[in-house]
Structure formats: C-alpha cells, structure tokens
C-alpha cells in the first residue's frame, strides 16, 4: 500500500462517526466578520494606506502622473543609484530623465547580476490600506519576484485610488491565485533579537512608495 493510501486510510478511520457526504464549507463557517474596518471616504482610505506604510518604515511620496518621472529621477539620484532594474512592462515614460543605467531583467540574468544593481522600480497589483501592504503579482510592470528582492532599494508606484483597497478580504478578491504573489508591508525586518522589531535583513532595506494620482489606464485591477 502506498503512503498516500496509508495516510488517507488513517484519516478515514480517525473520522469514523463524523459527517458523511460532500463537505459544505459555506454552511460550516460563519463569515460575519467585517469586510472592512470602519467607514472611510476614498481619500481617507488612501491617507490610511500612507499612514500605515510609514508606520512600518516605508518612505511615502505623493505626486500626480505629470510629476511622476521627475520624482522617480529625483529619488534615484538622492539614493545615489548608478543602476536600476526595469521590469519589462514598466510604462516607458516613468524613468524618462532618470540618470541610472537601466538594467533589463533577462531570463539569463543570475542572482549575482541582480546583486550588483542598486535599485528597482515597479508598479503593483493592489495595495491594502488597513495593513499598509503592497501586493505584487508578477505582471509586466512588476517583473519576476527576484528583481524586487535582491536589490537593496525598491521604489513601488501605486496608482491611487484605483489600486487601493481597504482590507485583506478585499485584496484577496482582486488577486489571481494562479500568479506568484508577494505581499510587502514595509522593508525587510526581524523580531528575532529579544522580540523587538529591527528593520533591514535580507530583502530591500529601503522601501519607497509613490502614490500617484491621475492614472489614465486604471491598470491592474
């Protein structure tokens, strides 16, 4: 007998006397918990996102679409970045005027190649206000998971308000489980020394978030 059968038989014996027939998840779970916490206007939701991002040490900037390229150029310059990874589908205008060398993420690029790059600029799939979370889903404006992991400086552009939701339940409804998802809430951190939070371990130690208004495409949601 295979171990699969062994385990499933053990499960069935353990459950003798339990409910028969097909499971009915909806009947079993009372989902009377809240879909979002508190009533907020759209502006207030965006403000809450900014507040919670900052609370976990992300650096938050705001601009409109016309000022985006200039802001990104300035942030990269202030960081002293010499090179920046560009996801394949990043809107072409975003890095207009930025000085650093553009590094395109190629299939053949190794992790070591990425380790030599200073910064990365991406879009996002959805942002969660209540928790201060950005979710990346590997869409062309975000690229492969590794490009937002190895460089030490990540600038993530969020189109507000259309990419912003209030809560975790709302975020999950917008996301496709088939895509590789990365939820990011502030820069890399640890609580492993005396259970006290310290920022900066293996992921990008600086996370900058640009909340941009006036998005023309309503992309990603």
């Amino acid at each position: 007998m295979s171990s699969r059968d062994v385990i499933l038989n053990r499960v069935r014996r353990a459950l003798v006397g339990g409910p028969d027939g097909a499971p009915d998840l909806d009947a079993a779970v009372d989902r009377s918990y809240l879909v979002e916490h508190g009533a907020r206007s759209v502006e207030e939701t965006v403000d809450l996102l900014a507040e919670n991002l900052a609370d976990y040490r992300a650096i938050v900037h705001r601009t409109d679409l016309d000022g985006l390229a200039e802001l990104l150029a300035r942030l990269l310059a202030e960081r002293g970045a010499r090179s920046v990874v560009v996801p394949p589908g990043l809107p072409s205008g975003w890095l207009e005027g930025a000085d650093p060398v553009r590094v395109h993420d190629l299939e053949a690029s190794t992790a070591q190649d990425l380790d030599a790059v200073d910064s990365v600029v991406t879009g996002c799939a959805v942002a969660v206000a209540e928790t201060g979370t950005l979710v990346l889903d590997g869409s062309p404006d975000q690229g492969r998971r590794r490009i937002t992991l190895v460089p030490d400086h990540h600038i993530c552009v969020v189109r507000v308000p259309d990419q912003v939701v209030s809560s975790v339940p709302q975020a999950l409804r917008r996301l496709d489980p088939a895509r590789p998802l990365t939820w990011i809430s502030g820069p890399s951190a640890t609580s492993d020394i005396e259970l006290d939070r310290v920022e900066g371990v293996h992921g990008p130690r600086t996370l900058e978030v640009v909340l941009v208004t006036g998005s023309p495409e309503g992309h990603g949601c």
Binding site: S3, I7, P19, P23, S188, H202
Partner: protein
C-alpha cells in the same frame, strides 16, 4: 518519533535547572512581556476579532473533519499547477523523500526557510548523515544553528539568547560556516542583522535547492503560503531552481477566501503586526519566475493519530503563532528547552504527547507543565481549549485507555509513577461514597493536626516541594454545622 530531543528528562527535572538560570529568566521575561503588550494592542485594532477567531476555528475544524476530501483535492490542484506531491507517513519517510530529491539534483547544500515541520522530523540531521549541508536562513534559526543549540520558541527559536550572547555566537562561529562576522561587531540589533545579511547572502545567491514548510495550503487552488519577516523566505522560495516544501497535513484550508481570516489573525497574534513584512504565495511553478521544480511533501507523523482523538484533535487547528507561549507563566519561567520538543509552551504540552505518544518520560510529564490558568486559550486565534486537552491527556497518562498509534487502535497502560495519585483518587472515591467513613477520617485528621508534617512523606514529597500542605481546621465543617445549627431544629439558615 523524531531524531531530536530523544532521551530528554521529564519537564519538572528540566524546568528545575532552567528556573535557576537568572540570565535565561531575564531574557524570557523581557521578550515575552514586550510582545504581550504589543499583541494586545494589535488585536484591539480589530472590532471583529471574536468573529475572526470563531471563523478560524470553524474553517480548521471543517477541514479536519473532511481531510479525506480536501487532501486529494489539494494534491490534484498542486499537480495541475506543475508541482509534484509526495506523501510521508512518518519522519523517516519524509527525510528519505527529501534526501532523495536533493541527491537527484546533484547538490550538496540547501538553503532553508524556518519550518517547524522540518525541525520536528530532524531533517537537517538526516541530510547531514548523507553529506548534505542545510543552511538555516531565519535569523533566530541561524543563531541556534551557529550556537549548536536547540530551538526554544516557535516563532523566535533563539528567544533564550540576548543580544550580547548573539554577538558572541556570531563572532565565534560564523567563520566556520562561511563569511566571518565583521571584526568590530557590537551587540546592537541592527548590526547583528547586518552581519546575518552579509553572512547569508552568498549562500542565497548560489543556492540551487531551497527547502521550506508552509503556513497554509489551499486545497481548491493548490496555493502554498509562507508568512515571514526578513526576506530569507523569499530568497529560498524564489532564487533556487528546485523547491521542496515539507508540510503537515493539518496546514490545509479549503478555499482561497479562507486566507482572509488567517492573514488577519496570524500576524497580529504572532509578531503583533498589522501585517508581517513579507508573505509569499505560490501555486505550482511559474514559467520563467522562481523554481522550475516544485515538490510538496505531505507529512503525517502522528497527525492522523491526533485526529482520531475527539478531544485532542483541536490541537491540529494550531497555526503556530506562539501567542500561547508568550502569555504562559510556566513558559516564561521554565523556558522552551524544558518542554523537550520543537513545540514548546502550552501548545507543545498538548501537541508533543499526541504526535509522539505519552510513553516517554518527557511526554508523560508534559500535560502537567501547566497551572491550567487558561491564558493560552484566551489568546489562541483559533480557540484551542488547551486546558481542556491538558486535563484530557493527564487522564490518559494516569488511567491509560484507548488511543491511536501509527494508525492502529491501542490500549495504553497507566503510566508508572502515578500509583500514589491513582491510590489517592480511589481512596477519595471510596470516602466520598461512604459518609460515615469520611466523617470519621475528618475527625481523626482534625484531632491529629498538631502532628501533621509541613512536607508530605513518600510520593507526596515532590508535590509539597513547591506547595504548602493545606492546614487542617480544628473541627471538620460537618461537626461545626451540627454543633452550631445542628440537629434538625429548622431555624433560620437551617439545612433541612
């Protein structure tokens, strides 16, 4: 069952040494008190905490009651998404599977995400026996591995170490494993984190095989979820070519929507954050992004035996947040090592004796590693009634009775060393059934009270080591009642 922690002394013995270690007690007190206050605040932010907790309980219970439906559904989803599923009935089988998978890649080293399941089965030791080096990449696991130590907390395995001790371990041992610690390393947490970053980066960048556990598996979609803080998880889950995830069969949830409950309750319960810095979700493999070979090893190792126990099975709801450790007065004083298992604290006291059986000295003593104060139940985000299971397991230890071991029904014999307790209970049963005998005994006890020892003799000695023997009143209550209100006169407050 697992290779680790074999031959551990019983909990009271191990705890006896631990409570005398002033550094350990100070480290634990500082850490647990820090997190307690923060957790309470993070939980208070959500008005619907009680509803989320109840929904979490219901989802897990429902899944466990239909595991025979949901496990095959998960398997189908993972395979459809490009993964391979393996089934491991026990630790040895899981270790054999993983070792074989690593050998098939030709690699001699792997990077690991912190995982309770692989700790439980002693995977690192099994890999080492075949000449494969496993690098722990979680900061606390790294501290434990470099210090040749054992984990003492579910979330923060090095909680028993303070910053000064961590500095010393890094300075002394990092060079033996790879890049040495910086010459002038101090004990500030930021510098220690930086040292870990530098030490591990070369390993991440060259790793070809990653090994992880998972916090959740979604049956409908085949998605696995790893919740973490440092980014070491992301490194191990995305940079290697091959990913092997070893996951207990109880980590399952039925639907994608179910994650909305646990992604709210887990971070707040464990690190007291609204959301942990990084959560990775992957479904099989994705062309051009992340590992191109994904293996899921589904682990039983005592879980189905636990499932067979109608009271004890609620322990399988656990999402490993460790809130129960952080509030437990016994854990705070005794520390994690005394529990003799990778699962310490209140949850460990009910999980280890069920996964491993109550036959060993340590496992038979674990249900007693509690004052039954109930703080663990109160903070548990999936409402595991830990005191209920503790009492249930105490009964099993003392009286023996039916249980399931490796899928077979067995009848356990009463444990040794509880003869006095059983005799006392039988005597109490007899006395309470015979009022005359009880009254006689009480009178004798009251009259001889001057001669009662302050510490009990014989098998009662250990009990009175840390407790005062109750003082006997000069007159039994029944006699007093008879004398003052007695003999059926029916006056005010009368008993008749």
């Amino acid at each position: 069952m697992s290779g680790t922690f074999v031959g551990m002394p019983s909990f009271p013995e191990a705890a006896h040494d631990a409570v005398r270690d002033a550094t350990l007690r100070a480290n634990l007190r500082h850490a647990t008190h820090t997190i307690r206050a923060k957790r309470a605040k993070a939980v208070a932010e959500l008005d619907d905490w009680a509803e989320l907790r109840e929904a979490g309980r219901q989802i897990k219970d429902h899944t466990l009651r239909h595991l025979d439906t949901y496990l095959p559904r998960l398997e189908e989803s993972v395979v459809r998404a490009g993964g391979t599923v393996h089934w491991a009935a026990d630790a040895d089988e899981a270790n054999r599977i993983v070792t074989g998978l690593v050998q098939a890649t030709g690699e001699r080293e792997v990077v690991k995400v912190k995982s309770m399941a692989t700790q439980e089965i002693g995977l690192n030791e099994a890999l080492a026996a075949e000449g494969i080096t496993a690098y722990e990449t979680d900061l606390a696991e790294l501290i434990v591995q470099l210090g040749d130590d054992r984990p003492s907390h579910i979330l923060v395995p090095a909680i028993h170490r303070n910053r000064g001790e961590i500095r010393d371990i890094f300075a002394r041992t990092m060079s033996e494993w790879g890049r040495p610690a910086p010459e002038d390393l101090t004990d500030t947490p930021a510098e220690l984190a930086e040292a870990a970053r530098l030490h591990l980066r070369e390993k991440f960048l060259r790793a070809k095989v990653g090994i992880s556990g998972a916090n959740f598996m979604v049956a409908d979609t085949g998605t696995l979820v790893v919740v973490e803080s440092e980014g070491n998880g992301r490194m191990c889950l995305t940079l290697p070519e091959t990913l092997i995830s070893v996951v207990g069969i109880e980590k399952l949830v039925p639907s994608w929507q179910d994650l909305e409950v646990f992604l709210q309750t887990l971070p707040r319960s464990s690190t007291a954050e609204r959301m942990n810095p990084y959560t990775s979700m992957w479904t099989g493999t994705t062309d051009g992004d992340g590992p191109q070979a994904f293996h899921l090893v589904l682990l039983d190792n005592g879980r189905t035996d636990t499932l067979a126990d109608e009271v004890g099975r609620q322990a399988l709801r656990c999402i490993r947040c460790s809130a129960c450790l952080n509030v437990c007065p016994v854990y705070e004083r005794a520390g994690g090592h005394a529990y003799g298992s990778v699962y310490p604290g209140p949850i460990g006291a009910i999980l280890s004796p069920q996964l491993r059986g109550t036959e060993s000295e340590i496992d038979a003593s674990l249900p007693y590693a509690s004052s039954l104060c109930g703080a663990c139940y109160e903070v548990c985000p999936v409402a595991i009634d830990i005191p209920e299971v503790l009492v249930h397991l105490r009964e099993r230890v003392v009286q023996g009775g039916p249980a399931t071991r490796r899928g077979k029904k067995v009848t356990l014999r009463p444990a040794k060393g509880h003869a006095a307790e059983r005799a006392a209970m039988r005597a109490a049963g007899l006395a309470f059934a015979h009022p005359g005998a009880l009254a006689f005994g009480q009178r004798i006890a009251a009259r001889t009270r001057r001669f009662h020892p302050r510490r009990l003799p014989g098998p009662g000695r250990a009990w009175s080591d840390s407790r005062a023997v109750p003082e006997m009143p000069a007159e039994p209550f029944r006699d007093w009642w008879q004398r003052t209100r007695g003999t059926g006169t029916g006056e005010k407050g009368g008993a008749k």
